[in-house]
């Protein structure tokens, strides 16, 4: 079977992955007789330095996978009936453009939702711009309120940039990993972290489950899911109370220490221990170790985004780095600088302000969740998924008639999947771009075949992907008529006659690299990457991009917007303490969303080499607890919440608190964790569905 052809002469090609969207690791692809033989790390890549993960290696199986979409498909028969006919790109896009324009003229552009999930490349903001040009205020992400947005707002408010995303691991002496598991999610960071540890850097890990990285920690703090903010405030209590903070740094570069000092007494280690279920001595020890080992850095992840008060939690964790003088210093948390290309991560690029104010006001969720959905200096505004579902199902505040979806699978990935699936079935028109016929694509009217990283040209230029060097993706193979997401947008933009978009992927890439005075083709032919300056201490000298030009321990902006200017902790909306009656019926606290190295969200379970290694959805449960419930390792178990029940396979471990369980995410059908989730309670201002720290019960399934 020869579904693809190699396009290059050399048998070793350097390129950039994007199987997980964010890392974009530089890799070497080895060809043999015109086909991709194998994939390896690239030691010369300036960012990833040779690291490689299972997802990248197994991508070779994406090229010959019989499930890959080869051509555009148009529904033949009932929605969801499984009958399709092949269509040309021209016909399929004519249908999509016709429908989107029809709804736009009949019901206004706000009746069309444009949503994204995974970014297979650096195109989040490109799609954001596409939606703004079409004129809909209802652009959104499956992540959005659940991932990156809350913590990036918190960081922008605090120090005007994304320093927490960039621990300077190579130069650090103490690394605090908070709710992240880099071996599973950030292999390049993990490689640097493990190298730092080998040379003697200390490692502190906060995680309810003894993760890959927690297993390597000097101190592991198994926090009760959802109570992280109390832990961070408890550590601040110790650091400020014992005067372990960097007085000179705080005096020169920070504002608000007095107010913060007045806040932390509420969070004594003893009280925090009761809240978080972490031993008091560990809280004190971790705080002291972090504050007294210099330089120290913090590595975080979307755990910080998925609690009831995500901005407060992210701020609390960020302040640990601020008061200890570790922001914008070598070995601390630093600010990435680009290589000089057009930055896509700006509101200018997405043409945010071109949208009329009255349309912006119609953005679904804008009233309830202004931090997510209103134009603010610290966000990329987007619609709120639960509000979109509500609009589809009830017609309120106005009907949503169409969804154009790229790289997402909301049928599984939105909390309260039953409701999400009901809405996806009900919406008048659904078009989906993906590699495979996903659960969401099955319900669509039109499905467009998107390409994997091996099949597209591109740039690794997202702020998450790189400290700065601009790296290049090379098209190596092709599968059927699949094209990159940017090419799909370019073709659809032409059909929609959108101004200020690009006619092709090539034209887009040339636009981005134009300030470097090269064409994309020249870049590909030339070097491996475009270097960027590594600047530390710039903001210490020139001021931070905050209203006060300083690090804002106390955030006046939050205060002006009506939120607490200082971090605080409150119990999750359901927990053993906030809903003790419910907890009698559902005695376990669960953490969901734990990443598994072989998968990315709902994707890749159909890739043979990956599925073989992680064949089943696994529930992490304390071994003693499990045995008291007559559950043995490998038993099928039922996990129930007040909202639904799912089926998983028990993994007995001592690496988890007896009253906590870890539920995997992204599995379909009866193992879909989002069936356990309610999306009615959302966090203040930002609209996050709390996914960490809700209640459940576990029992053995009938044998």
């Amino acid at each position: 079977m020869s579904l693809y052809r190699a396009n290059l002469q050399s048998d070793r090609v350097k390129t950039c992955c994007c199987i997980c969207g964010h890392n974009q690791c530089g890799l070497e692809v080895r060809l043999e007789q015109g086909t991709v033989k194998e994939i390896a790390g690239d030691a010369d890549d300036p960012v990833t330095q040779g690291s490689v993960c299972p997802k990248a290696l197994a991508s070779v199986q994406l090229l010959t996978h019989p499930g890959r979409l080869q051509t555009p498909l148009v529904r033949a028969g009932e929605r969801g009936g499984g009958n399709w006919r092949e269509a040309s790109w021209d016909e399929a896009l004519t249908i999509v453009a016709g429908k989107l324009n029809q709804f736009k003229s009949e019901s206004g552009p706000e009746s069309v939702v444009m949503a994204r999930g995974t970014n297979r490349g650096s195109w989040i903001r490109v799609f954001n711009r596409f939606a703004n040009l079409f004129g809909t205020p209802n652009w959104t992400e499956s992540g959005g309120a659940q991932c990156f947005t809350p913590r990036s707002i918190a960081q922008s408010l605090t120090f005007g940039g994304l320093a927490l995303e960039w621990p300077d691991l190579a130069n650090s002496e103490c690394i605090l990993v908070w709710g992240a598991n880099p071996p599973a999610t950030w292999p390049p960071k993990s490689k640097k972290l493990m190298a730092a540890r080998k040379r003697g850097a200390k490692l502190i890990v906060i995680d309810p489950v003894q993760s890959n990285i927690a297993a390597k920690a000097d101190l592991w703090l198994p926090v009760r899911p959802g109570s992280d903010a109390a832990l961070a405030l408890g550590m601040l209590h110790v650091i400020i109370g014992e005067r372990l903070y960097d007085r000179e740094y705080v005096e020169r570069y920070c504002v608000g220490l007095t107010e913060l000092t007045a806040r932390v007494p509420e969070y004594s280690p003893g009280k925090v221990s009761e809240i978080t279920w972490v031993e008091e001595r560990l809280i004190v020890e971790a705080a002291r170790l972090f504050a007294t080992t210099r330089p120290a850095c913090i590595e975080i992840a979307c755990t910080l985004d998925e609690v009831i008060d995500p901005i407060q939690l992210s701020r609390a964790v960020a302040l640990l780095a601020c008061v200890t003088g570790n922001i914008d210093v070598a070995g601390g948390n630093i600010f990435p600088h680009a290589a000089g290309q057009v930055s896509i991560d700006t509101n200018d690029f997405i043409l945010r302000d071109r949208m009329p104010v009255e349309l912006q006001a119609k953005r679904l969720g804008a009233d309830a969740y202004p931090l997510l959905s209103k134009n603010l200096p610290v966000n990329f505004p987007m619609a709120h998924w639960p509000a979109i579902l509500e609009a589809i199902l009830t017609g309120k505040p106005y009907p949503v008639r169409a969804i154009f979806l790229m790289g997402g699978n909301p049928a599984l990935s939105i909390a309260n999947s039953s409701r999400a699936q009901e809405a996806l079935r009900k919406v008048e028109f659904l078009a989906v771009a993906d590699l495979f016929m996903s659960k969401t694509a099955e319900m669509a009217d039109v499905v467009l075949p998107a390409s994997s990283w091996l099949e597209q040209n591109g740039l690794a230029d997202s702020s998450q992907a790189t400290y700065g060097p601009l790296r290049i993706r090379r098209k190596i193979a092709s599968v059927g008529e699949a094209v990159s997401d940017i090419e799909i947008m370019a073709r659809l933009a032409k059909k929609l006659k959108l101004p200020d978009f690009w006619d092709s992927e090539e034209e887009y890439l040339n636009y981005i690299v134009k300030p470097l005075n090269v064409t994309f083709e020249e870049l590909q032919a030339g070097g491996e990457s475009v270097p960027s300056p590594m600047i530390r201490g710039k903001h210490l000298q020139e001021g931070f991009r905050t209203p006060s030009r300083k690090i804002e321990l106390y955030s006046r902006r939050l205060e002006e917007w009506g939120y607490d200017p200082l971090p605080f902790y409150r119990e999750p909306h359901e927990s053993p303490y906030s809903t003790p009656e419910l907890a009698k019926q559902y005695p376990f606290v669960m953490t969901t969303g734990r990443r598994v190295v072989t998968y990315f969200h709902t994707g890749l379970r159909n890739v043979p080499a990956l599925r073989d290694v992680k064949p089943v959805p696994v529930l992490d449960i304390n071994a003693s607890t499990a045995r008291s419930l007559h559950i043995e390792d490998g038993d099928k178990v039922i996990v129930e919440s007040p909202y639904g029940r799912i089926s998983l396979v028990a993994r007995l471990t001592e690496g988890i608190h007896p009253r906590v369980v870890g539920v995997p995410h992204g599995w379909p059908g009866e193992s879909n964790d989002n069936l356990l989730m309610n999306n009615e309670v959302c966090s203040l201002g930002i609209g996050t569905t709390p996914l960490r720290g809700t209640l459940c019960n576990v029992r053995r399934a009938q044998r």
Binding site: C53, L57, P183, Q210, A215, A609, E654
Partner: protein, 196 residues
């Protein structure tokens, strides 16, 4: 010449990149992993230690598998590798019972989950016993075993024990790595740093 592998458990994070690389390289079928990573826990929450331990054919000097093979399909090559001549193997699986490390696998048709295509499954080895061969084809052209090549953490070090300048020779001398099941007399060629 004697090829050995030293695995540094301090560096292994259990990412399974080696497991997947091995599967892809050797085209092993559903449920068969020549190399894999097991987790070993000790202690009780919260005082619990966890090790990720990569397991593969240990290429023992005193090979139980070789001793029991009735067709001489399993043999030792001059570089110290324990290999299988798949044409000679008749699939009796005595070697699987004899192997103290459970590193051998019988290649029988197994059905993957319904949403996963069957793909390649070591078709040329159907009905016989298969296992890790230290990627002897790569060694023959000056390469490294695939699991060593793809490890991002320098957890696997491979080389010729008899070459005093090699990294493995130095590690064996300086780090005093241990073998799994030291109570046996198998003299495996895979050593571990950080077992305790």
């Amino acid at each position: 010449m004697k090829y050995v592998m030293v695995i540094d458990l301090n560096q292994c994070v259990g990412c399974d990149t080696c497991t997947v690389a091995c599967k892809l390289d050797n085209q092993t079928g559903s449920g068969i992993q020549w190399g894999r990573v097991i987790e070993e826990e000790s202690g009780r929450f919260p005082e619990v230690k966890k090790l990720y331990i990569p397991i593969l054919c240990m290429h023992c000097e005193e090979s139980e598998c070789l001793k029991v093979c009735p067709t001489k399909a399993t043999y030792r090559d001059p570089r110290g590798l324990v290999l299988i001549d798949y044409d000679k193997c008749m699939g009796c699986q005595y070697c699987m019972l004899a192997c103290p490390y459970m590193a051998r696998h019988f290649n029988e048709a197994r059905t993957p989950p319904p949403d996963v295509p069957a793909g390649a499954g070591g078709d040329s080895r159907k009905g016989v016993v298969e296992k890790c061969d230290f990627c002897e084809d790569r060694l023959s052209v000056g390469g490294l075993p695939r699991c060593v090549e793809v490890c991002s953490y320098d957890a696997r070090i491979f080389g010729d024990r008899d070459d005093p300048g090699s990294r493995v020779a130095k590690l064996l001398a300086e780090e005093k790595p241990e073998v799994l099941k030291p109570e046996g007399t198998y003299h495996p060629s895979v050593y571990y740093i950080g077992v305790k």
